[in-house]
Amino acid sequence: MGYGADPVAVLELIEAHAARGAIVVLGNHDAATLGRNVHGMNLQALTAIAWTRKRLGKRHVDFLNALPLTVREDERLYVHASAAVPERWTYVTGRRQAAQSLEATDARMTFCGHVHDQKLYYTVATGYPMPFRPIPGTPIPTGRHRQWLAIVGSAGQPRDRNPAACYALADLARSRLTFFRVPYDHGGAAQKIRAAGLPERLARRLERGA
């Protein structure tokens, strides 16, 4: 939402998952669509937000309004950006930000987004957490005596010039985390953005994966 030409379809898909028990947290583009803190957004983003807002019905707005900033489930925390102050949408772009996010929770695993690249931070004996760029498809054992912060990556506009969408699977029984990349019809999605008259840059970024 706020990036593409299908906000209603995406929202309704997520609503259906939520009805079956999926965990959903609010993101900054969702918050902006609701008219909450839009500072810091560039003109293209604001244009897309305004365009999106016009297409949402009351039901959609109510659904977004009800979304929490964080969800805690056992040892896991789900949050869109840094867990330090979730409503500030701080990007976890380095070891210091990862430390701040991990210090703000006693959850063993934090799953977040906001930053579009897949990355895994893990605490070590001394100093800031260590970063690791995951290799898609390789399961990573996530020892229970450490804290882990997984940036799952985005569906669309990943920043690594690979247009494929990102996701990750956590195997709770075996304490393993696997990151994945999955191709989708990004060409079709870009065409829809152009057809909708949204900023050209949004279409190009989907195609270039950057």
Binding site: L120, Y122, V124, A125, T126, G127, M130, F132, I135, T138, P139, I140, P141, G143, R144, H145
Partner: protein
């Protein structure tokens, strides 16, 4: 925490004889099973690195696919409550048992080195680097295959390196450690080649290439001081063996062989080693040169590690098999064209090969004469490729079963691809080869 006594039961495994007590862990046989259990030393007074090393070992072994070149991980306990690893017990002879008899003959050194290089290549191509290669960490099975043990300091380039942030002084065995490891680099497979070179040096000469350093200052000497050439210690060391050893011991990782497979190939084919000035050295570098290196070493920064193996062409050797009866120039040219395309695509070696019947089966010619004739025609085939000498090797195999001989060669030397004509052995080779096989034909006459 004290190490448990034999007889104790842990998660259903009954501990047998304790076969190793180290600073980081104890190792036990398991009663009634061909397995061992490794239990890290944890608790007050023990190094926190022990638990990280345990975790790293579990992670890396768990990710390696099964092979004879390392133990298979069977079970493990939770890091927080009962940390242990259960893995295959590897029966065989450790390198330190050979070191007691060193200097070994060049043939024996090459045989041990070849098996060890193949084992290293097996883990390297899965993007695992051992980083703690030493005499007690290599076991030779009865089959002659080498197995690497103790992955507690290893690094898997697809998984987080838990050890990267853990140590402040160079970690690993100081006798065999590569220069870049001293600088904290943990992601270069060529570090294992340096350790391999240091082990071969010791097997071939009975002396340690860099002594037994007991301070970081002494350890750092290998950043600028070269060891005495093996020939200075054992006069009979053949040039090819000295070449291989000193090539592995290059200070700059970028100057070493590009892969363990290359070292294995050289040790299995002494006649094909590209001899350089290294092979002829009889004394160490001049003090002037050492002084220059010493100045540079103060700001030593390691060469960038190569990208993970999964990004590279897996293996460096392409075999071009030429039937002894082949004579048609259009076919030769088609074969050359196929070889040129491989060479242009990646830095491979071309091994030109032909198989001749065993000497006993010959009637019309002396064995040596026949051999030379074949070598000459292989060289004639290869000359138009215009490749530098070190990228080309020539092999005349003797066997009454040409297909079997070729397949055996391809397996032992980790060949990437075989290029050959559509002779009568082609079908068997295509179906049984351990690698890709391309059957080349001359273009049709128009």
């Amino acid at each position: 925490m004290r190490a448990p006594e034999p007889g104790v039961e842990i998660d259903g495994f009954r501990l047998g004889e304790r076969i190793h007590v180290g600073s980081m862990a104890s190792i036990y046989r398991l009663e009634g099973l061909p397995l061992i259990m490794k239990i890290p030393r944890l608790g007050a007074g023990e190094r926190s690195a022990n638990v990280v090393s345990f975790e790293q070992c579990r992670m890396v072994l768990g990710a390696l696919s099964q092979s004879p070149h390392h133990p298979t991980l069977v079970a493990y306990g939770d890091v927080e409550t009962t940390p242990y690893l259960v893995m295959e017990y590897i029966e065989g002879t450790r390198v330190d048992q050979w070191l007691g008899r060193a200097p070994l003959s060049p043939q024996e050194t090459a045989r041990l080195g070849h098996a060890l290089a193949l084992a290293l290549h097996e883990i390297h191509r899965q993007d695992v680097i051992h980083l703690d290669l030493k005499a007690t960490n290599v076991i030779y099975r009865a089959s002659g295959q080498a197995a690497l043990i103790d992955f507690g300091l290893s690094c898997h380039r697809h998984l987080p390196d838990l050890l990267a942030a853990e140590f402040h002084s160079p970690v690993g065995n100081w006798v065999y450690m590569a220069p870049e490891q001293i600088a904290g680099e943990r992601s270069d497979p060529r570090s294992d080649l340096f350790a391999l070179g240091a082990l071969l040096y010791e097997l071939a000469t009975g002396k340690r290439a860099f002594g037994t350093p007991d301070s970081v200052a002494q350890l750092r000497r290998r950043l600028y001081r070269d060891p005495p050439p093996p020939r200075a210690l054992v006069r009979a060391t053949p040039p090819w063996l000295q070449e291989v050893i000193l090539h592995c011991l290059e200070i700059d990782a970028a100057q070493r062989p590009t892969s363990a497979a290359e070292v294995a190939f050289d040790l299995a084919n002494p006649g094909q080693v590209a001899i350089t000035e290294r092979a002829e050295r009889t004394k160490r570098e001049s003090l002037q040169k050492v002084a220059r290196r010493w100045l540079r070493a103060r700001n030593f920064s390691p060469s960038a590690p190569p990208p993970p193996a999964t990004d590279l062409a897996p293996l460096p050797v392409i075999v071009v098999a030429i039937g002894a009866q082949e004579t048609a120039e259009p076919f030769f040219e088609a074969l050359r064209e196929a070889a040129r395309r491989r060479v242009a695509a990646n830095a491979c070696r071309i091994a030109c090969m032909t198989v001749v019947p065993r000497a006993a089966a010959l009637t019309d010619d002396t064995p040596t004469g026949r051999h030379i004739k074949q070598l000459v025609s292989l060289r004639r085939w290869a000359r138009p490729l215009g490749l530098p000498e070190e990228r080309l090797t020539y092999h005349v195999l003797e066997s009454d079963q040409p297909a079997a001989a070729l397949l055996d060669y391809a397996t032992v030397n980790e060949v990437e691809e075989i290029l050959m004509g559509a002779g009568k052995e082609a079908a068997q080779i295509v179906t049984q080869a351990p690698c890709s096989v391309t059957v080349v034909r001359a273009p049709p006459l128009s």
